[in-house]
């Protein structure tokens, strides 16, 4: 028994088993069934996983992970799985299998989707892993850190429990700071402005630890002359229920933002530079809530590219003269198609941009995805798997690693320290903001 799962809630009971299997049955749509059936166990997906690249062993092959849920599926649904389980490796959902699912679905997979893109058969291992996570969540077996993050978000409206008072104070403080920095009192960070075109969201980390990122975003919006606002009703861009597979919770969190945007009658919801937050609201949210939003959802990265394309402000790229490379967040590039936009931005805001190899859709996950940063139980494996990313960064010779995701930002910062890389980790908007030639409004 893995010592990380000795707590009582990780012990399988007949009731929990029934709940877990019911989740599997309920989620068995055509997409999931096709992915469970079609794998031929060729193993070609091995090198697509950063866990495998960093530590090549069979347990790190994506097909091996997916195979754990397939065993249960075959036991449940395959005629041979019932009559000759050994022949097709069908297995019951027992305590040993629970532990295996915890270690594979939560402990060594960030659901980055790189194996999906690389599978010759089109297997969606990311979907299989999320289903396994959903089963474990329904059985109250989500690793503690992730469980707490979702619960805090549901209870307080944001995943760090920031009060509205603190939020407003931080926003006002950043507005004053920005006005002082630019020596321009006309600069504003509007709150609850009805009829604004854009509602901007934040990652609670920005409010709590990195408020200068809000300052950078505000400078970009003001320079672009955007009609924008923040909402005190709901402003958290994150949705960690994407990671624990709890669609009911994910729906509630997505609805929070939907309501806030509707109340402000905005046209566009702009997601902060938060990979999974963007994916949650842009791609999954409407499926969770069951209808299309009456507004558009876009990433702040897309908006920055649009502003630059439309020449909404003047830029001086020489202020960012050190070599910059870009880490594509999986949930924006591979899972959201945002590949050209950050590069377009970087070509305009810095003088020496180099690509990692591979990059874009085929970029390696940094290891911080899938809610990994909240699950400290798996921190050691997470850092070991980050070697692939560390090697990629080192090979570029870059001094700055830009990215557009808070989880990536945190993980890259840990990678930098763990692998002793002489680099600075920055959000894309920091570089854009620095390059703006400010003109008093």
């Amino acid at each position: 028994m893995d010592e990380r799962f000795t707590a009582e809630r990780f012990q399988l009971t007949p009731e929990k088993m029934a709940v877990g299997l019911e989740v599997l049955r309920k989620r068995m749509n055509r997409q999931l069934k096709a992915s469970l059936e079609v794998c031929v166990r060729c193993g070609l997906c091995a090198e697509s996983c950063h866990y495998y690249v960093s530590n090549p062993k069979p347990e790190h092959v994506p097909a091996f992970r997916a195979e754990q849920l397939r065993k249960i599926y075959r036991r449940l649904e395959d005629p041979l799985g019932k009559s000759a389980p050994g022949w097709i490796a069908a297995a019951d959902l027992d305590q040993e299998m629970v532990e295996m699912l915890l270690l594979t679905a939560y402990g060594s997979c960030t659901m980055c989707g790189r194996c999906v893109i690389n599978c010759p058969m089109g297997v969606d291992t990311r979907l299989i892993m999320r289903t396994a996570r959903a089963m474990l969540t329904a059985m109250d077996m989500t690793p503690e850190g992730l469980k707490a993050t979702v619960n805090v978000h549901l209870e307080t409206g944001n995943n760090m429990g920031v009060t509205t008072e603190d939020f407003v104070e931080t926003v006002e403080w950043m507005e004053e700071e920005l006005q002082a920095e630019l020596d321009d009192p006309s600069v504003k960070i509007p709150l609850d402005k009805k009829g604004a075109r854009v509602v901007y969201t934040l990652n609670p980390r920005e409010v709590k630890y990195f408020p200068y990122l809000l300052q950078a975003a505000a400078k970009i919006f003001n320079a672009a002359g955007e009609n924008w606002t923040l909402s005190t009703e709901s402003w958290d861009a994150t949705n960690y229920a994407l990671f624990n597979g709890d669609d009911a919770a994910a729906k509630k969190l997505a609805q929070n933002l939907e309501r806030a945007v509707n109340h402000l009658r905005a046209d566009v919801l702009v997601m902060a530079e938060c990979g999974h937050g963007y994916r949650s609201q842009r791609w999954e949210g409407e499926n969770w809530v069951g209808h299309g939003y009456p507004f558009r959802v876009m990433s702040f990265v897309e908006l920055q590219a649009q502003y630059i394309y439309e020449k909404r402000f003047e830029l001086d790229p020489t202020v960012n003269s050190q070599r910059v490379t870009f880490h594509d967040p999986c949930n924006q590039a591979r899972n959201g198609g945002i590949v050209d936009e950050p590069r377009y931005v970087l070509r305009h805001v810095c003088t020496d941009f180099v690509e990692m190899t591979p990059h874009g859709v085929e970029n390696y996950c940094c290891g911080g995805g899938g809610g990994m940063l909240s699950m400290t139980d798996f921190a050691k494996e997470r850092m070991a798997a980050a070697k692939a990313k560390a090697d990629q960064i080192a090979a570029t010779g870059a001094k700055i690693v830009a990215t557009s995701c808070h989880n990536c930002l945190d993980q890259l910062d840990e990678i930098k320290r763990h692998y002793k890389l002489d680099v600075k980790i920055q959000n894309l908007s920091e570089l854009t903001s620095a390059a703006i030639v400010w003109k008093k409004q």
Binding site: M28, N29, R30, Q31, K33, A34, S35, E37, V38, V40, R41, C42, G43, L44, C45, A46, E47, S48, P58, E59, V61, F64, E67, P79, L80, G86, W87, I88, A89, V116, I117, N118, C119, P120, M121, G122, V123, D124, W283, E284, G285, E286, N287, G292, R296, A305, Y309, A333, R334, N335, G336, G337, D340, E341, R343, Y344, R347, P358, V361, E362
Partner: protein, 213 residues
């Protein structure tokens, strides 16, 4: 009724059983809900699907197939061998009348396919990852399919071997719905979903964006 005709009927029975099993499998998946994507499209799903079934299958398009091009080509040879063996099977009543040049081509394709099939078993036994992933049915299914291609190969060289080919066909046909060989049905679903999903999100198969360099 001679032995060839008898075994031909047995093969037909096996294939009918297989077809019934496949139809049941198809019925099963079609009875499951289809998860429609409600999000606004960024790219065109249709282009993603087209890509998934065409260029997306080229050996150079994915990192996995670039790295393992030899294994991928082996797999392609194996599958071309299977499809060709089916062609030989359905034309087998006229096998004596095949043009010599066609026969040579078919012998080469089925020979290579059979070799690629048996090599697949060796690769599964040899590679640590493949061994860890493989289940008994994987070995057996590849073996049965390889035997099926071998049956076509041998029958082309010596039509007296047709009863062997037909008996293998009968067994394989009946076994398809129960084994991993049924991936031939689900393949079309998974590739369709893959193409639609990533095409809709503008990840694959789309034209260049205005921001591209």
């Amino acid at each position: 009724m001679d032995w060839i005709v008898t075994t031909r009927w047995i093969a037909a029975a096996g294939l009918v059983l297989g077809l019934i099993g496949i139809l049941m499998r198809l019925g099963d998946i079609m009875n499951r809900p289809f998860k429609k994507d409600l999000s606004r499209e960024r790219g065109r799903a249709g282009r993603g699907i087209l890509y998934a079934f065409t260029l997306g299958m080229a050996p150079w398009e994915k990192e996995s197939t670039r790295l393992h091009w030899f294994l991928y080509i082996r797999g392609i040879l194996f599958h071309v061998g299977i499809f060709t063996a089916f062609g030989v099977l359905f034309a087998s009543p006229w096998i004596d009348q095949f043009h010599q040049a066609l026969k040579v081509v078919l012998v080469l394709v089925t020979g290579a396919g059979a070799l690629a099939g048996f090599a697949g078993i060796a690769i599964r036994l040899h590679g640590a990852n493949e061994r860890a992933l493989s289940i008994p049915d994987d070995y057996f299914s590849v073996f049965v399919c390889s035997l099926f291609i071998t049956g076509a190969f041998v029958s082309l060289l010596a039509p007296a071997a047709l009863p062997f080919f037909y008996l293998v066909t009968a067994f394989m046909g009946a076994y398809i719905p129960l084994s991993k060989i049924r991936h031939c049905v689900y393949f079309f679903y998974s590739k369709f979903f893959f193409g639609a999903h990533f095409g809709h999100r503008g990840v694959i198969g789309q034209s260049r964006s205005k921001y591209a360099e």
